[in-house]
Amino acid sequence: MAEIHLSHLTKQFPGGLVAVNDFELVIPDGSFVALLGPSGCGKSTTMNMISGLEKPTSGEIYFDKQPITKLPPGARTVGFVFQNYAIFTHMSVAENISFGLRVSKPRPPAAEIDRRVGDIADVLGLRGMLDRNASRLSVNDMQKVALGRSMIVDPAIFLLDEPFSNLDAAFRAYMRAELKRIQHEIEQTMVYVTHDQVEAMSMADHIAVMDAGRLQQYGTPDELYNAPANRFVAGFVGSTQMNFLPATLTLGEQGAGNGRSLTLGIRPENVLLVAPGAAGATLAGKVNLIEPLGAKDVIHLDVAGHGVRVVGVPGQRPRVGDNVGLVFDPDRQLLFDDETDLAVEA
């Protein structure tokens, strides 16, 4: 159990690339936090610094208020699960899981190791395959073994770097739920790196969105979804991307900021399609393309040269080429300053 505090963390690689830039984050004890961002945003580098595999250029990392930046990885008691499992294929499943105990000093007695391997195998459903050679496992079981190997040393912190992205879709969904269950059971701090916002939203208590080495926003999934701090977060979170349209601020009387150029953001599910020219329709558009997804349709519209996506109900599916009117839910509109990209109060 540990709280993680990343304080002004910066990592600059030889060659000048700043992967992580003045990163500030507090991950509460026992919480499940996702680091979310596009590839190359610095999330994996952040993980490597927490684990100790990379040394920060500047800044400090605290576990439970204790600075650990100078500790070697093995002394930090973190569990790390890698995207490609990093299974030791020359060992059996049991040898893989017990690895952390077998290299620890002092090494626990064999009976103790066996007992703990057994406990973990039960939690993960690996009991029947402990003697099997790890290279013969399915990808799905390999990832379970990797998870088990990270659990054996009873780490205060679990770090998972895109652990499920190589799994097939059905097993990925199962493992997400399974991981969440395990996290509730062991109540350990978990940090989860992913570029998949659905994965982050569905699993994490809090999400830290990163882009270009900087923290963009840190909040609950609901906060990120409903009140994104800036245009990047608004565009990155949400499975059908938010629509952005140019807008101009018009105040009733002459005042500061009148005529300021803004961007209006509205999620596809907050736009209603009506007959063209119907009352309340603020914009008109033409249907370009329809993606039927079963439970909903994603309708691509052309609105005065701008692409707009709308979530439609399959029962009321328009046809390609139809002219439609658009009604925006006024409570759900967001405004972003074009100069700073930050959200502004409507």
Binding site: G52, L53, F80, F82, V103, A146, R149
Partner: protein, 312 residues
């Protein structure tokens, strides 16, 4: 495949018509030609081995009598082996009298020099290869700088080396040979092992380190076992190179450290000329160590030689 362009189909059809009458002849000739080629190649590679092994069991008068060829030993004998291993041969005639020049010490020298040199090259080379593959030690050019050690024929530097080794009092010593063999095969080890290490995901060693290993611990417990096939293949390759060296040992040794290949080439008597039977017997003995080594590590070898072929 039903959407093949029509003109493509047409051209294929006409081609078939043209070649149709010859196909039956070709169809017969092809396997015959293939088996002939295989037979020819097998003879080409197999015959020297056959000739050497049978020669080793031929008595003196069957070696190369004028006007006759003994394709098969008529009077099988172990005298060649006995003589080469330093045992008195009864009735050896003038040719073996007073010539109890046993090959055993030279075989010993060969074993020590080739094993020692290979071990030296492997220890230094494997560590260097890991440093290069995992930590980019020495920058991008280091592998090529190491390889350029092999970019000229050894004969080009053997004379300066000779002077150097005489000065260092390493000439005609086993230590000197071990150092030379290690240095000469070191670039091969680096290049072979580097590619094997590159196949091991970095996360493998990272995982071991997070679990509490040092870099050394991760290397020995996790990374090295993953490349043991490649290591076995590299070890065998390097050992064969060192074991079969002639040029370096010829120049760099005299009596103390002379190796078996050099001794073999010198096996000639004033009266008998080339002592073919003894040479063949020694050659058969010299085939054994690499062959035994190869068989012993065969299990790992197949994996090592096909390592890069498996897409993971």
């Amino acid at each position: 495949m039903s959407t093949v362009e029509p003109d493509l189909v047409a051209s294929r059809a006409s081609e078939t018509e043209l070649t149709a009458p010859r196909r039956s002849v070709l169809g017969l000739l092809r396997p015959v030609a293939r088996w002939l080629t295989i037979l020819l190649l097998a003879l080409l590679y197999g015959f020297p081995l056959y000739w050497t092994v049978t020669m080793a069991f031929k008595p003196l008068d069957e070696w190369n009598p004028p006007g006759t060829i003994f394709w098969w030993p008529e009077n099988w004998t172990l005298d060649n082996f006995k003589s080469i291993l330093g045992q008195e041969v009864s009735g050896g005639g003038v040719f073996s009298q007073g010539k109890l020049d046993s090959a055993v010490p030279y075989i010993q020298n060969s074993l020590i020099a080739a094993t020692g040199g290979s071990l030296l090259a492997l220890v230094v080379g494997v560590l260097a290869a890991y440093g290069i593959a995992r930590f980019r030690a020495g920058g991008g050019m280091l592998p090529f700088q190491i390889l350029q050690l092999r970019m000229f024929p050894p004969i080009a530097i053997i004379i300066p080396l000779l002077f150097m080794f005489v000065y260092l009092q390493l000439w005609d010593t086993l230590w000197g040979l071990v150092i030379l063999y290690g240095a000469v095969t070191f670039p091969f080890v680096v290049w072979l092992m580097r590619s094997f290490f590159q196949e091991v995901p970095r996360e493998i060693s990272d995982a071991a380190i997070v679990d509490g290993c040092t870099h050394w611990g991760a290397f020995f417990k996790v990374v090295l076992p993953q490349v043991k096939g490649g290591l076995a293949a590299t070890a065998l390759f390097v050992f064969i190179l060192n074991w079969s060296d002639f040029l370096i040992a010829l120049v760099m040794t005299q009596d103390n450290a002379r190796t078996a290949p050099v001794f073999l080439s010198a096996l000639q008597g004033g009266a008998a000329g080339q002592e073919y039977g003894k040479q063949a017997a020694l050659a058969v003995i010299l085939i054994l160590p690499p062959a035994i080594f190869g068989l012993a590590i065969q299990k790992y070898l197949v994996r090592g030689l096909t390592f890069g072929a498996i897409k993971r």
